[in-house]
């Protein structure tokens, strides 16, 4: 940035305080004092219009730049200006003979020495490292067309001031390069009600830039002499908002500010700075709906603030959880907000007898909305905080209920579990004499249990990273070392799953049953037909559903999805596990992409297991809602008839051919 400034300075120094002309014929000097007519003899020539005046400029298209000065100056150049009647040389001093020098100094505006003195003290003083960029008189007031501030055509007429200052201050990037911190002051000001009332013609007295910042003696807001310095703001706003300033200075906030506590709010801390809006607008910082969340809440939710000034804690939170707070949040403007009870400018501590929340005044304060409020009603704390110290009865009542809920819930769960197990055993007793068929061998069941355990562990430990605040993620967050354990468990489960998958692959290739499993799992045209038939059956167009083989289309789809999902999860999981190794081969977005895929694929897999697999295995059985096949490996004849009739046919045909009586029984 220094470099830029330096180059700018050098550039402007070269152009200098000069007027460069292409004026041809020199003229004999006039010995007498020059008059404007003398100047106009040359300068009123249309040929001069081609030559622009170059002068050192501020950052943007300032007032003088917009005037578009050329070397052509007509007789009426000063018409309407406050300087009408002055002669050229009154301002363009230093010309004693013609032709004059090629380079002339800028008019010095020395008549206004009082204002010049003010300017010298301001941030716009023409000295210092950025002096070439600060605005000169003409940048704000214009060159020939200088008008008074009550003239609507004037650059300092209230309605025109934002664009006058905005020429430079509207350019936040350029200001930043100069080291001036600002947040789009002009853009924000145009949203304010100060501007809206000027723009809408309501008044031209509403504040614009110069009313708060000063005109010539503009100081930084960090300068204690500035009218916008924190402790000076009440007086500055009070110039127009008379009376409010007095009220404010008597309030708890005003007194604290007077004592020099800079944490206390001044006008702009609550109302905003440039973008001040009236309280009735929903976007206003002092709108009732925004007080708790933004304006008051910013300080009164702060633990640091509460500790430093021994303010009661949790007040904003308790308000937000109350009916008043909730109704406000959902757009009800009739209910109480912070200001309804505490006041706005005249906020006093409850210990002050004049305070609206002094116990003696509470009945009247509540009574503004609740006319029937009894004296007894408000004798207890208004902000409900269910803690052991604030309201022990409520606190212990709540504890009691929590314990009651946990006990009943636990007792109920235990009772119903026992109930269920007993009924289940009774059901199995009844089913025992029925012929059973082998669905899963012991090896297959062990593979399935390994898959199930590792899958669920991966889901819980994985999603606990994404949603650490969830109830089910509690052990990883609360237990010492829980977070590290989460990562370790996730990796152990991943290794189990990979090993299980590899074993399964070997099983598919190396064993006869495995090869048969693979053949039976291949999707066929029949599956498509089955799907059509089955959907027709679901929709009521057919009397009976498809006759499924060993694996229905749904089971095949699920198995293939599992294979695909495992491959993707293992691949992306290894990239995440060995990130530094893979970083050597992957593009820069590789890791993030792997992370994203790992998360979404996990969601997909978990969702599919719940919606597809759980639905099928829990409901597709006569023992619903619990199917023990994954442990016993068996299906009853009834289940075979219902869910795998084609397989049953094949088995029986084979048995019939072999003429062997004890079929595929176990």
């Amino acid at each position: 940035m220094n470099n830029t400034v330096h180059r700018l300075i050098v550039g402007f120094a070269l152009v200098g305080l000069t007027v460069i002309g292409s004026w041809g014929p020199a003229r004999a000097a006039a010995a007498a004092k020059l008059t404007s007519e003398d100047c106009l003899q040359c300068h009123d020539d249309p040929g001069m219009a081609a030559s622009k005046v170059e002068r050192p400029g501020a950052l943007g298209a300032t007032v003088v730049a917009k005037e578009g000065l050329t070397l052509q100056v007509t007789k009426s150049a000063l018409k309407g200006s406050v300087h009408e009647g002055l002669s050229c040389t009154d301002c363009h001093s230093g010309i004693h003979e013609l032709p004059h020098a090629d380079k002339l100094p800028l008019p010095s505006c020395d008549c206004h020495s009082d204002l010049q003195a003010e300017l010298k003290e301001s941030v716009h003083a023409p000295s210092g490292p950025a002096s070439a960029l600060v605005p000169r008189c003409a940048d704000c007031h214009g060159a020939h067309q200088i008008r008074g501030k009550s003239d609507p055509a004037s650059s300092i007429y209230p309605a025109n001031i934002p664009s006058t200052c905005g020429a430079c201050h509207g350019n936040t990037e350029a200001m930043k390069a100069l080291g001036v911190r600002q947040s789009n002051p002009v853009e924000n000001f145009l949203k304010s009600d100060h501007w809206k009332s000027i723009e809408g013609g309501v008044t031209r007295k509403a504040a614009t830039c110069a009313d708060c910042h000063g005109a010539h003696k503009v100081l930084s807001a960090t300068d204690p002499k500035s009218p916008v310095y924190k402790t000076n703001v009440p007086a500055t706003c009070g110039k127009c908002h008379k009376g409010i300033e007095v009220k404010f200075l008597e309030s708890v906030h005003g007194k604290a500010l007077e004592e020099g506590h800079m944490e206390a709010p001044s006008c702009t801390d609550c109302h905003g700075e440039h973008d001040i809006e009236k309280a009735s607008r929903s976007t206003s910082r002092v709108n009732g709906a925004n007080l708790a969340t933004v304006t008051c809440g910013e300080c009164h939710s702060s633990v640091r603030m509460a500790k430093r000034f021994s303010l009661p804690q949790g007040m904003v939170k308790s308000y937000q959880a109350s009916f008043h707070g909730l109704a406000t949040k959902y757009g009800d403007t009739a209910v109480a907000n912070c200001g309804s009870c505490h006041g706005a400018h005249d906020i006093l501590p409850s210990s002050d007898p004049k305070s609206s929340i002094n116990p003696k005044n509470l009945q009247a304060t509540c009574g503004k909305c609740h006319p029937r409020a009894g004296g007894a009603f408000a004798q207890t704390p208004i902000h409900l905080k269910v803690t052991a110290s604030d309201s022990p009865v409520l606190y212990w009542l709540q504890r009691f209920y929590i314990i009651l809920i946990i006990l009943t819930l636990g007792g109920m769960a235990l009772h119903n579990l026992l109930d269920y197990i007993r009924h289940y055993k009774e059901t199995l007793k009844k089913l025992r004499p029925v012929a059973v068929y082998l669905r899963m061998t012991k090896s297959e069941r062990i593979q399935h249990v390994c898959l199930l355990t590792s899958f669920l562990t991966l889901v819980v430990t994985g999603f606990a990273l994404k949603w650490p605040d969830s109830v089910w993620a509690f052990p990883f967050q609360a237990l010492p070392g829980g977070f590290e354990a989460r990562g370790v468990l996730h990796r152990i489960a991943a290794v189990v799953m990979v090993a299980d998958s590899l074993y399964h692959a070997a099983y598919l290739v190396a064993t006869r049953r495995g090869r048969r499993f693979m053949r039976d799992m291949i999707p066929t045209l029949q599956d498509v037909k089955d799907l059509v038939v089955q959907i027709g059956f679901y929709l009521g167009y057919r009397d009976r559903g498809a006759r499924f083989p060993r694996f229905s289309y749904a089971e095949k789809a699920e198995y293939l999805a599992l294979v695909w999902g495992t491959a993707v999860m293992v691949a992306t999981g290894f990239i995440l596990w060995f990130k530094t190794f893979f970083a050597r081969f992957l593009p820069d977005w590789g890791y993030s992409a792997a992370e994203m895929v790992h998360f979404y694929e996990a969601g997909l897999a978990f969702g599919a297991i719940v919606i597809w697999h759980f639905y099928a295995v829990f409901s597709h059985t006569e023992k619903a809602p619990y199917n023990p096949t994954w442990i016993t490996g068996q299906l009853t004849r009834h289940e075979m008839e219902r869910y795998h009739p084609r397989e049953l046919e094949e088995l029986e045909a084979r048995d019939h051919d072999a003429a062997k009586a004890p079929e595929k029984k176990v």
């Binding site: 959880a321 009916f323 909730l326 109704a327 949040k329 959902y330 757009g331 009800d332 509540c366 609740h370 029937r372 409020a373 009894g374 007894a376 009603f377 408000a378 004798q379 207890t380 704390p381 208004i382 409900l384 269910v386 309201s391 009865v393 409520l394 009542l397 709540q398 209920y401 929590i402 009651l404 809920i405 009943t408 819930l409 109920m412 009772h415 119903n416 026992l418 109930d419 269920y420 197990i421 007993r422 009924h423 055993k425 059901t427 009976r544 559903g545 409901s619 619903a624 809602p625 008839e641 219902r642």
Partner: protein
């Protein structure tokens, strides 16, 4: 698939009982949804529910309409007891008895250890009696605390804020007890317990499967067979 023979059914609930039970479900759903949405207002699902009810004001309307409906159900229940012999019989059947404790214990042992035989319950099992009277007591408590909260304008004139706060805590905590103890348990009984899966349809058709009825209400079935009951 073979065509199934019609399963023999036993009548369990009259049409009027089913209608009132339906209104009770509606009332409790309205109360639970609009009430828990308020208790858990900081959660996304609760905020979505409040928005679905038309905002904060709409939520209150739903809650109060549900409460009014529940009071109506209570009144109709009282009226039915006055005019209907069937209701009076059901009321007599639901009076808690010392044998309920014995049967409850026997049932517990059977579940726990498979000891003895499953108890042969009457028209209402001990658990159903407990649920009926428990729900009734809880509804009364909810009615009292709810009445205090109904109109803030009235209650600020009558009570201290501490008392209103107490009623607020009672109302919201009790609601969760009701939800867990009665609604979830009842849903378990109807959908999962004793071979009812996927559902005991009595609340819709008025009838339940004879084999399940025999298993769940053995004593009642015996009495019906003896002709002492219809």
């Amino acid at each position: 698939m073979t065509k199934q023979r019609p399963v023999p059914m036993v009548e369990r609930m009259s049409l009027w009982q089913r209608v009132v039970h339906g209104i009770l479900i509606l009332a409790i759903l309205m109360l639970v949804v609009s009430g828990l949405a308020l208790v858990y207002h900081q959660h996304g699902w609760a905020q979505a529910l409040i928005a679905a009810m038309g905002g904060f004001g709409g939520r209150a309307v739903v809650h109060k309409a549900g409460a009014a409906l529940l009071v109506l159900v209570g009144l109709s229940h009282l009226l039915s007891l006055l005019v209907s012999p069937r209701y009076r019989r059901d009321m007599r059947e639901s009076v808690p008895h010392l044998s309920d404790l014995r049967q409850g214990w026997a049932g517990f042992l059977w579940r726990m250890a498979g000891k003895g035989q499953p108890p042969r319950y009457g028209r209402f099992t001990p658990m159903q009696k407990f649920q009926y009277w428990g729900l009734l007591a809880c509804c009364l408590l909810m009615g009292v605390s709810g009445a205090v909260l109904w109109s803030p304008q009235a209650s600020v004139g009558l009570f201290s804020k501490r008392f209103v706060d107490l009623m607020l805590v009672v109302h919201s905590s009790e609601a969760q007890v009701i939800f867990i103890l009665f609604i979830l348990w009842h849903l378990y009984d109807i959908h999962l317990a004793g071979g009812n899966f996927p559902m005991n349809p009595a609340w819709l058709t008025g009838k339940m499967r004879e084999d399940l009825f025999k298993a769940q209400h053995g004593a009642e079935w015996d009495a019906m067979k003896k002709g002492t009951k219809e």
